[in-house]
């Protein structure tokens, strides 16, 4: 038994190292003093927080970060709202468009995003949506919808809907029965879908660099890729790695809090359907 546990410990450590070494490296790079950034060591030989201060003071990282947070939150909210309607209908109601809806969602999920970049670029320029928040929110919602519809309809299908009827028998009004019985049961599914949708919008790069041109709507991942350093001769490594760590923090927090739900959401949506 002890030998077995030791074996598993070693294997676990290998997996954890695989997952964390690149993250640790980026963090270490962001804490290196500019004079030591090119020493090629894994750990900083001289520590500093200057890189973090610099991205906000000279780097102009604040506006892209605000854009990212705002755009990802609004996209998530809209996708969840519309996705909940559709998922409820798909899980509960008999209607003719049900399979078409599932098929369309699957099609969009498999869509090569780059196929939309050229047409959207032109359409958004003509509509005045280019380089605006809505210009990014629209595609983000669209690509989050399949995910939310599949994840939530799987959750909704598992809710024992007879409870609603039972509550009504006991004298609850229709709305009361829905709010007191169904909503609490459905909330975990909604939260799961929201976390997945947020991660997906937060992650996007292709739309962010194709459909924006200035800080007005540029999101954090796109902004990081345009960092050049404070002057022509300055290496942006420190700023890039500090900004990269900042963008990673919300995701790590989400993963720590919602670990179980992310796993169930990913697997339910894709394997069980």
């Amino acid at each position: 038994m002890f030998a077995k546990k030791a074996q598993w410990t070693v294997l676990d450590l290998v997996v954890i190292a695989f997952a964390l070494i690149p993250v640790a490296w980026l963090t270490s790079l962001s804490l290196k003093d500019p004079s030591t950034i090119a020493d090629g060591g894994f750990l900083p030989s001289k520590w500093t927080f200057d890189n973090y201060v610099n991205v906000f003071t000279d780097g102009g990282f604040l506006q892209p970060l605000v854009n990212s947070i705002g755009i990802a939150l609004i996209s998530t909210f809209v996708a969840i709202l519309l996705g909940t309607f559709a998922a409820y209908a798909i899980a509960r109601l008999e209607f003719p468009g049900r399979n078409i809806m599932l098929g369309a969602a699957l099609l969009v999920a498999m869509f090569p995003q780059v196929s939309l970049v050229t047409p959207l670029f032109n359409i958004e320029r003509n509509l005045g949506l280019f380089n605006t928040w809505p210009g990014l929110i629209l595609p983000y919602v669209t690509f989050a919808l399949p995910l939310t519809i599949y994840t939530m309809s799987t959750f909704f299908r598992e809710i024992p809907w007879e409870l609603e009827k039972a509550a009504k028998m006991d004298g609850a009004s229709g709305f009361q029965a829905f709010r007191k019985v169904i909503v609490p049961l459905a909330t975990p599914g909604v939260v799961t879908a929201a976390v997945l949708a947020f991660i997906q919008s937060w992650n996007d790069f292709l739309f962010a660099i194709s459909l924006t041109s200035t800080e007005r709507a540029r999101t954090a991942p796109a902004a990081i890729s345009f960092f050049t350093g404070a002057s022509q001769f300055e290496d942006p490594t420190g700023s890039v790695s500090a900004a990269a760590v900042i963008v990673t923090i919300p995701i790590v927090i989400f993963v720590l809090i919602f670990q179980r739900r992310i796993v169930s959401g990913l697997t339910a949506g894709a394997v069980k359907g």
Partner: protein, 292 residues
């Protein structure tokens, strides 16, 4: 009475789906149709007045262009090799997550971090790690080696970045498949003298077939769209660009909407063929019908 209820249910269903359907139709459906139209036109934003209907000439231009086929080949190599690695590593990872006796919860949490991390951010990590001077990985190479400036090493690093980022996703999908395999079958086979490897090949793999097929389909289509990693790691230099990189470049530096749209349509068709192959030939079924 019942027909009334049914009709009301139908109406409600359609109304509830309408907003989501409208979004997908307007933001995905209409642009793809528009890009088909653009692909038949000469449409270059540098010469906005010189627009004309040119039929299949854009397609001829793209399909006889060596840059297109190089990018196509590179995309295919990256897709096939990285998905193959992900499948093997993902399966190993799934087994460890499923069977480990130590720190199961911690393991499942940590494994999600690569999945959650912004691809561009992870790509910068790999970029600096392999850049001579800053990088700890480059520091282990002989002096004067700059792997990101040479074709095969650069492709290798792109694949590494892709595999690191998405193996956890693959592993989670396979883990869900593993959980479906009944433990009694394993015990019975073990009693009959089957070894660990035999049980894996004869019992686990066949029962996991639907899960594996779905995971493969998702990852292949996703890998085919590869963009972020290449943009950061090589910017597509030394012919390491994927079809997505080439399309983006035609749009942003070239402002050539006609050619860009033609490439968009060709990529869309390729993806459709891959999906069609999986769904019909391999009888995967789609999520929603799959796994039942």
């Amino acid at each position: 009475m019942t027909t009334d209820v049914k009709a009301a249910e139908r109406r409600l269903g359609l109304w509830l789906c309408a907003p989501a359907a409208a979004f997908m139709l307007l933001v995905a459906g209409w642009p793809i149709l528009y890009s088909v139209i653009l692909s038949f036109k000469r449409y270059d934003l540098r010469f906005p007045d010189d627009q004309a209907w040119v039929g299949f000439s854009n397609y001829a231009t793209v399909l006889t262009n060596e840059f297109w086929w190089t990018s196509f080949g590179v995309t295919m190599i990256i897709t096939v090799v990285s998905v193959a690695f992900e499948l093997v590593l993902g399966m190993a990872l799934a087994q460890v997550m499923y069977r480990t006796l130590v720190a199961k919860g911690l393991l499942r949490t940590v494994v999600l971090i690569p999945y959650g991390i912004v691809t561009v951010v992870a790509a910068f990590g790999w970029f600096y790690a392999w850049t001579p001077g800053t990088g700890w990985l480059a520091a282990m190479l002989p002096d004067g080696e700059a792997p990101l400036t040479e074709f095969w090493p650069a492709i290798g690093i792109i694949i590494l970045a892709e595999v690191w980022k998405t193996t956890p996703f693959m592993a989670l999908l396979l883990l869900a498949g593993l959980a479906i395999v009944p433990e009694e079958l394993h015990r019975a086979a073990a009693m009959d003298g089957a070894g660990r490897w035999q049980r894996f090949v004869r019992i686990t793999l066949p029962l996991m077939r639907p899960a594996i097929a779905v995971a493969l389909l998702f990852r292949i289509l996703d890998a085919f769209r590869i963009y972020d990693n290449i943009y950061v790691l090589t910017k597509g230099s030394q012919s390491t660009g994927s079809v997505s990189i080439l399309t983006y470049r035609n749009l942003v530096s070239g402002l050539n909407l006609g050619i860009g749209s033609t490439m968009s349509v060709l990529i869309f068709i390729t993806v459709a063929i891959i999906a069609f192959f999986f769904v019909t030939v391999l009888k995967t079924g789609t999520p929603g019908q799959g796994g039942r």
